[in-house]
Symmetry: C2
Subunit: 143 residues, 2 copies
DNA sequence: CTAGGTGCAAAAGGTTTGCGGTTAA
DNA sequence: TTAACCGCAAACCTTTTGCACCTAG
């Protein structure tokens, strides 16, 4: 059994329990997210999904992605004002975007670190979530 | 002499030395940024600037803001897919956005902290800049 | 004088919406 | 059966662009 199939079981469970229908479109969009994990945009997901499901529309891809985010099966990744990207990595993590090749990499908190420790958040503020984007050069583009 | 006037001297210096003209529009846009420091959007800057300079256009505001960012007099603040906000705080800092009142607050790195220490960046990667947005509740909205 | 800036209007790019028809549960 | 969902097209919002005119240096 492949990792994709294992996670598809998670899909059925999560979708079912959250009161959302298990439609072929949503399954296909989620499959695309899981198959490459390269943080595709909605349009890229659309192009890939269309290869297997020729009738799917861009609006439906947006709808499906929104549903997946609602269920907690995917996260949105915003990089400046570019098109929103999507990833199925649910762990608390940030992103590194290479200035040269534009690839997106996941980065995790270093051992013993936390956002509260890193940032001087004023007294009485509660941090619920974060969006962190680091930019620079990846090892491939770093001369 | 007010803080605004003091910083306006910085404006003239920076603009002049960066080969950009000191136009009234750019001065006004920069004045708006300095006067409230509440991270306004381009449209908000436009509305405020128009009160003093009725002929200014939204496109000019966008141009002026871009010039200020180029000169290093302002920074862009992207919060998810909302309109880009602008701030004249040039120090390395992140932002906290309140989920309830939507106000934007600057947050600085805690003593002894750095992005490299916080995030597990892969070997060979170079971090050049970062964009950090924390979300949650500010002290006012935190019941 | 003239390179660079301004203002207008129109376009672009990403995302959302309204609606009639379809379908998973 | 029926509330939820799909696909299409059109709308929406922020941002950018082309171009004629203007102005700071």
């Amino acid at each position: 059994m492949s990792a994709t199939n294992e996670t598809q079981a998670g899909y059925e469970e999560t979708m079912g329990h959250s009161g959302h229908r298990l439609t072929p479109q949503r399954r296909e969009v989620y499959d695309v997210l899981l198959s490459e994990r390269d943080h595709p945009t909605a349009t890229e997901v659309f192009i890939r999904a269309k290869q297997k499901m020729s009738t799917i529309s861009l609006a439906t891809v947006y709808n499906c992605l929104e549903t997946l985010v609602d269920c907690g099966l995917a996260k949105q990744v915003n990089v400046e004002r570019e098109a929103t990207r999507y990833c199925p990595n649910l762990d608390e993590h940030g992103h590194f975007v290479c200035d040269r090749c534009a690839k997106v990499f996941d980065v995790t908190l270093a051992a013993g670190q936390s956002l509260d420790r890193t940032w001087q958040v004023p007294e009485g503020f509660t941090v619920l979530r974060s969006e962190v984007t680091l930019r620079g050069l990846c090892n491939n583009c770093n001369t």
